[in-house]
Amino acid sequence: MLQTAQRTEKKSKGKKAAPHERYLEAYRWMLLARVFEEKLVSLYRGGQITGGVYIGKGQEAVSVACGMFLKKGDIFAPLIRDQAGRSAFGEPLVDVARTYLGSRQGPMRGRDGNIHRGSPRDGQLAMISHLGAMVSVTVGALMAKRSKGEKNFVGLTCIGEGGMQAGSFHEGMNIAAVEQVPLVVVATNNHYAYSTPNEREFACADLVDRAKGYGFEGYTVAGTDLAACLDVIGSAVKRARAGRPPQLVVASVLRLSGHGEHDDASYVTAEIKAEPFAQDCLKCTEKVIVDLGLADAKTLQKWRDDAAAEVDQAITTAQKEAAPEAGEEDWCAISMRHLVDQV
């Protein structure tokens, strides 16, 4: 399936490009995520989404690479800005729409919303808001697979540089290495934990240096460069699958939105916006596609139109579905009914 990359040394500036078929597939997942999240933002501004909207604008290249190399039987524990990766892993777009719009037919049935969703039976864990908590959960899922005799599986979980400072994250990384599970942790440094810049988040020279301390193998990647993301994250997945120690990939980007859509991100400085990592990965990818002649302008437009149609379909479907009703809700937090406390 892998094809030789169509690239010229001059245009790619010596970087190793991903095979172009995969590159274009990744681009289309990124595009779908972008178009979908633009729609979510517009619905939110129109007052049609309750709670928050948290988008991955600027992080799609890293995220999509997280989802693309995972297969059925793998474990994926995405985080807040991983729409592209979730779609690439196989999450139906309509389920995302259902979760944001509170449809009773969505995986969370109106009980939880926005990015707090998952489908654990399909290998996609349902994140909680407490950062770092999903690292050890992924480790446990991988240990169980190993003990059941499954082979050739891998787990991948995402974190930001903000979450990397939580105790839970450190415990999870350490236990992953102790247990030697086939795990990839992709950490995206988007330079702000909500409004707090890097210099108030950590004081080490480079976050990837921690890999050695944890007993991971560590790599860095420019999160604006899709080819590099596919290469570095794809290779990390391959190494983990082959039995190498756990892998840490640290990507550098700028979050091109607020923390959520309620946040105007006015604290993001002009200086940081001028940094190379502040470029929009989607635009960078489109430029590569055009420059290398991987697709023409007409095709790109068609893909965008297709994405918009898919998004509309998902949103329209979810909008037609019933919201949960308090009177019909099963107000029960445990599955074994005879053990429910009768208050």
Binding site: R109, H130, S136, V137, K148, S335
Partner: protein, 322 residues
């Protein structure tokens, strides 16, 4: 032959490991030849290779790992070295395991064992009873066995339960309690037990305080007073029906708990009895808990911090005079 409360916990785990390949034990120092700080897993690592695993000092990650394994079909038992240290894992227990079924429709069958409660000289960080805290949050079953028999059968049931279970085993009972043999049958979780029948006063309690209360009942029996003792067995679910039925017989209620006084199981019982059985009460219900300070180290202080038989008897006598 006799078997202690602690040995019953070990035997239950041996049986679970033997009969269910989904079970593994995960905790600090549980493996190797050591077998746990209290020896609750002694010999199990050798008998069940690869299934009784030492962990780093990472309570959060221990429970997180158990959650992930449970989602993949395993039945992990996590041993906290002391209940007190489970505070580090609160997030995973409450926010991850406790919310998972509600959020996703998929339950998380983990059992978290908490060596709980006070013993002489253990001090503020090795003596806590945390059942009230776990019972407060949705999504968890909270067991508080008071007998050798319950220690055994309830641990086996905990692992069979599809939902997360916090199993509070009392350290004071580890060596003090003995039974002739392991039971073959048991009350189901959620049913309280009448530990002693009486007609003058109901004491509702659980875990080690059942035994303090039984001592009080013996003492008052010499004065011609008949105390009924309800052993809750689990604080969540809480068997309000058995408590109300007992109060209907006696008309007087004293609740005894070893944990801190603000809120908790004793307050919950009084709230329920007052709301649902006010007409059954001949006197205002009374409760006794530990003092509202950290748990002291010195035996002179420790024995006054927790409810002891003398303090419970004092409360009972006063309540019987009303």
């Amino acid at each position: 032959m006799s078997i202690t409360y602690l040995e019953a916990i070990r035997e239950a785990q041996a049986k679970l490991l033997r009969e269910d390949e989904r079970v593994f034990i995960y905790g600090q120092d549980v493996g190797g030849t050591f077998g746990g700080a209290f020896k609750a897993t002694k010999g199990l690592a050798k008998e069940f290779p690869g299934r009784v695993l030492n962990t780093p000092i990472s309570e959060d990650a221990m429970v997180g790992t158990a959650i992930g394994a449970a989602l993949q079909g395993m039945r992990p038992i996590v041993e906290m070295q002391f209940a007190d240290f489970s505070s580090i894992a609160l997030n995973q227990i409450l926010n991850n395991a406790g919310t998972h079924y509600w959020r996703t429709n998929i339950p998380v069958p983990i059992t978290v064992r908490l060596p709980s409660g006070g013993t002489k000289g253990s001090g503020p960080f090795h003596s806590q009873s945390m059942e009230a805290l776990y019972a407060h949050y949705p999504g968890l079953v909270v067991m508080t066995p008071a007998t050798v028999e319950d220690a055994y059968t309830m641990l086996i049931e905990a692992v069979a339960i599809d939902d997360p279970v916090v199993y509070c085993e009392h350290k004071y009972l580890y060596y003090h309690l003995k039974a002739d043999k392991l039971p073959t049958e048991a009350l189901p979780t959620g049913k309280a037990r009448i530990a002693r029948a009486g007609r003058d006063l109901t004491i509702v309690t659980y875990s080690a305080m059942v035994h303090e209360s039984l001592a009080v009942a013996d003492e008052l029996a010499r004065e011609g007073l008949e105390i009924e003792i309800v052993d809750l067995r689990s604080v969540k679910p809480l068997d309000t029906d058995t408590v109300l039925a007992s109060v209907a017989r006696t008309g007087r209620l004293l609740c005894v708990g070893e944990s801190f006084p603000w809120g908790g199981a004793t307050a919950e019982i009084i709230a329920r009895v007052t709301a649902e059985g006010f007409h059954l009460l001949d006197a205002a219900p009374v409760r006794i808990n530990a003092k509202d300070t950290p748990i002291p180290y010195h035996p002179n202080l420790w024995s006054a911090h927790r409810p002891n038989a003398k303090a419970i008897a004092g409360k009972a006598r006063r309540l019987l005079r009303e």
